[in-house]
């Protein structure tokens, strides 16, 4: 990469990393104030959609992951040290979007896949972190708790498939919405910038 190319690469990572951080601060605070459920999931969808939009302007390999690292460090490094939870969350979301967009950064279908993966991570991060904290035994506890709760509520066996289906639909819906919107926003922004340059 040329010197100009490297400067442009990192400048885009800085600007979009800061924009992601600003989204977390503003929209994140709004969602937390309203006590809306799944606010982390909504923020992950929004953040990964932003990464998809950025990739329409800068289709360089590694740009998404580097932007995620900037956002993660900007959010998680404090004078007292590093707050690992949010840092890991943001970095993994960026890694998943990067991997999904590697074959064709400007593909709308891969944009949907990218946001779907990031949204699934946001949903499963709490469970994975709990397993990391307490060990694998906590999975047996979760399953036993769910079985007892289902029996107490008199839910049939099939209810678990309905619940799983609803969860998958939610993640896929977020992927389609966030991926398509991110792609469209990025394309429109690219067109507007091209007009301004012409």
């Amino acid at each position: 990469m040329s010197q100009r190319g490297a400067a442009r690469f990192w400048a885009y990572c800085a600007a979009f990393g800061a924009l992601w951080g600003a989204l977390e601060v503003t929209v994140g605070s709004l969602l937390h104030t309203l006590h809306l459920p799944l606010s982390g999931f909504a923020l992950a969808t929004l953040g990964s959609g932003l990464l998809v939009a950025q990739r329409q302007l800068l289709p360089e390999r590694g740009a998404t992951l580097a932007t995620g690292l900037v956002a993660a460090l900007a959010k998680s490094v404090s004078p007292a040290g590093i707050i690992l939870g949010p840092m890991v969350g943001i970095a993994v979301e960026a890694l998943l979007v990067e991997l999904a967009l590697l074959p064709a950064p400007r593909s709308r279908a891969l944009a949907v896949v990218a946001v779907t993966l990031a949204a699934s991570w946001a949903l499963s991060q709490r469970l994975l972190m709990t397993v990391a904290l307490y060990g694998e035994e906590v999975v047996s506890l979760y399953l036993a708790g769910l079985r007892d709760a289902a029996a107490f509520l008199g839910l049939p066996e099939e209810a678990r498939w309905v619940a799983l289906g609803a969860l998958l639909a939610l993640v896929l819906g977020a992927g389609v919405l966030g991926g398509s919107a991110g792609h469209a926003v990025g394309r429109r922004a690219a067109a507007r910038l091209a007009e301004a340059r012409a």
């Binding site: 010197q3 490297a6 400067a7 990572c13 600007a15 580097a66 460090l73 900007a74 507007r192």
Partner: protein, 184 residues
């Protein structure tokens, strides 16, 4: 400082090793040893234990294990609980306390300059500069986004889309001007 960190990291590895295949006793011994190491060498890291959310969740996990895992073969305060579940619950609680203090220590021991050094070593030297630039841009971007969201009808889909495009265009223009400055 770095030498001190290495010693503590070595103790941490030893404590992790103690937990492999030694069951509840090994985990209890590892936590006791690790707490002692931190109390002597990095007492600030023990502050991570002062988290009511962790203790609340751990109490639920321990109680849930005693009631839900295994045969309820032990009367305890008038309630039949599982001895095996109690053991598993205690194991999870001790392991949780160990992981929490370990992560707390790592978070305090690793600073921004370490991350910049490591990323520089793997060819991501621009990350430190980008991080500094992002830190400078953040307050202005927050103010702009708040202003945009406060504007009338900001949550209408069409308006939201235009706001998003505008934010992305502004970020791209900022990036181009940062790249120009960097080149000069």
């Amino acid at each position: 400082m770095r030498g001190g960190r290495r010693w503590i990291a070595a103790w941490a590895l030893l404590c992790v090793g103690l937990q492999l295949g030694w069951g509840l006793q090994g985990t209890a011994a590892a936590l006791a040893l690790w707490t002692l190491v931190l109390a002597l060498a990095a007492p600030a890291a023990l502050k991570s234990l002062a988290r009511p959310v962790f203790w609340g969740a751990s109490a639920l996990v321990a109680a849930g294990s005693a009631l839900l895992l295994g045969e309820r073969d032990l009367p305890l305060l008038g309630v039949a609980v599982s001895a095996e579940g109690l053991r598993v619950g205690a194991l999870m609680l001790l392991r949780g306390a160990f992981v929490l203090t370990l992560v707390g220590w790592i978070g305090r021991a690793v600073g921004r300059e370490d991350v910049e050094r490591w990323t520089g070593a793997v060819g991501l030297g621009g990350l430190g500069v980008a991080l500094g630039q992002a830190g400078l841009l953040l307050p202005e971007l927050v103010a702009r986004l708040e202003g945009g969201l406060r504007g009338g009808g900001a949550l209408r889909p069409g308006r939201l889309f235009e706001l998003a495009v505008e934010a992305v265009v502004q970020a791209a223009l900022t990036a181009e001007s940062l790249a120009d400055e960097e080149e000069r």
